[in-house]
Structures are given as C-alpha cells and as structure tokens.
Assembly symmetry: C2
Amino acid sequence: MKTQLQQVKPGDIERRSFEIIAEELSAMGRVLPPDQAPVIMRAIHASADFDYAENLYFSPGALETGLQALKEGASIVTDTNMAFSGLSKPALAKLGGRALCFMADEDVAEQARRQGTTRAAVCMEKAAAQKEPLIVAIGNAPTALVRLCELIEEGRMAPRLVIGAPVGFVNVAESKEMLMRSNAPCIVARGRKGGSNIAAALCNALLYLAAGRSL
Amino acid sequence: MKTQLQQVKPGDIERRSFEIIAEELSAMGRVLPPDQAPVIMRAIHASADFDYAENLYFSPGALETGLQALKEGASIVTDTNMAFSGLSKPALAKLGGRALCFMADEDVAEQARRQGTTRAAVCMEKAAAQKEPLIVAIGNAPTALVRLCELIEEGRMAPRLVIGAPVGFVNVAESKEMLMRSNAPCIVARGRKGGSNIAAALCNALLYLAAGRSL
C-alpha cells in the first residue's frame, strides 16, 4: 500500500497548516482573541499540541508592548542555543534587532561553577548588563526564569517583554507564576509545558506580526 | 504571596524530574518496556507531554541497532539547526561520532531552488552522499522524511537508524507511516506530534544509553 501524500507545494505547506489549525479550533468551539490568534496558532503549529490554545497567558498590553519593542529594534535574548537556532534571524535583523544567547560563553560557565548555580541563571545576569532594549525568551530553564524575576524585582532589569515558556517538572509552573505576578509584560505558557521550540515559535510569531505579516 | 520553589540542587533537577515522570506514569497505570523507558521518558521530559508514552513506535531491534551504531562511532544527521543545537555533542564525540546538519549550506539552498523542493529534502540527498555510518533524525520537515524514505527504497541510503519525529499538519503523519513501512530500523513519534526538541531528546537518550548511563 502506497501512502497518499497531499499534493501541497513547499511554499503552501505553512498556509495549509494554519488553515487546518483554524478549522480544528473552530470545530472545538474555541474562539481565540483575534490579536493573539497568530501567536497562539504558531505555538500549536510548532508542537501540534492544541493545549497551547488554553495555556498561553498574555499580560495586559504585553502583545502591543512586545511588538512596539521589536519595531524599535529590540534584541531577543534566549536561554538556550536551541531557541536561538529557532529564531528567525533575518526577520529580527530587518527590524534592527539581534539574537543573543550566552549559554556557551566561558565566563558564564565559570561564574555558574563558582556560585553553584546554573549557567542559565548566570545568563540572565549577563542579559541584565546589556545596554540595548531586550525581549527575553525562556524556553528551557526555570532557574533562568526565577533569576530573571528576581532581577526585575530588584530593579536591575526591565525587559520590554518576557516570553516565559520553560518546560518540565521541577519549579517550572512555579517560575511562570512568579513571572505572571511580576510587573513585566509577559506571554506565558502556563503549567509544565513549553520548550525551546515554543519559545522560538512565540518570538517568530511576534517578529512576523511586527513586520506586518498576518501569520 | 511568595511562590514556594522546591529546594532542588541544579544537578538534581533532572533526576527529580525523571522520578516525577515515573511516578505519574505509574499512577496512570502505564508500564513502559524497560529497555525503551529511558528513551520514552526523555521525550516526556523534553515536552512535559505524556502523549509520548503512547505515540512512540520502535521497530523490532531498532533500539539495539541504534545503540550499536552509536557505540561504533556513527554520526547523527539532523534536518534542522534546532535539533542539531539540542544534540549532546560532547556525548556524541566521546563515542566517536559527529553531528551534521546541512540546512544552512549554500549548495543545498541553490539545489532546492532549482528543483522546486525544500532544502530539508535536498539535505537528505546530501546525507546519502556521506561515506560514514549515519543515524538520521528528523524533527521538523516531513518533506525530508519522505525524501529519506525514497532514498532508502531506491537503495541509495541505508541509515543505521532513523528517528522520525517531524511535527505538523500536512503530510506529517503520512511521512511517518512511510517510514514505519520501510525496512529501516526506526523510532517514530506517530501522528502529528514531534519537533526538533523531541528529535534531539530521543537522540540524547540513545547517546546516554550507549555511553552506559541509565537515564
């Protein structure tokens, strides 16, 4: 038996995928807020997991603030090289921003060893030392998100937007609760789910919106 | 209200995470085949999605074949730079293999334009031209997996193991069915779910097992 593949041109696969996602959300009776829909749908697109239709939280005004920051050339810091890899660097560069990840930096490894903490947490301190406007996207390490919340609370850092999507079982949901109670504009994948792929997908959705693409 | 974080040392987070996953699988009455358990649990760990306890398929002998290949120094080709980023390069290097991804190669982009196909598909042709023993891990593009299955069927390629975990809505489940009907040893995330994070997690689980770690 031969597998029947749908005849869809490479350039049309993404459009067709979003049509399917929209159809299935509609069949589920789930109506997304129109401004958030492209962002939520891109998380579903990246994971084939419709839980993201329920678990994404947008703090009031976060979407507008984040888009404005990108239009003004804000850079994006990620907590993992995987999320960094998944970011659309051309889309970011066109808006004047750059992608940053400090995880592989030798000074970060050294400081983490000295402090007995994770490299991800130290990366957030390095991010706090940057002079440019930043969006911070966390796709893996709750320790990074906890440290980021502390830096925000201490007034040492004021990211224009935080994407909170660490994944896992230990302190992950808790770190997201900390973020949602902070004053930082944030988009959060509540609960245990998330990941570098989700963090990158959420960033890319914002990048495409900021560049004037609808999806 | 302060968030109560669990006091777990950075080095113990992963161990505690796997304990929680094991506890919840047990509470669900789900007993995993002992040899496959570390691989399945690592996919759950990467996504916090227990669907991977149900959707992972191992072709007969695939796990043993894949582990043997890694012990013999096989290299791993990924279809995305995200999956490449997520691979444990130190673990792979220790066993004598290397991580390969051709997605950013200029000749790949040029050939894809000429053929009207995706870069991911062309990457598989480039993989087929490699002389070393290979494990191929697909975390994103069904077009890559379809092309890989064709190359295998045409006898132009014989990967030691295929990790089939593309994600999405168009031809994704179908591409995995093609793989499962091929003669290639394979580990497959059946259905729509998967991703670069899952492909990398499955590879890393095998790398750790091949190196003698239990998890």
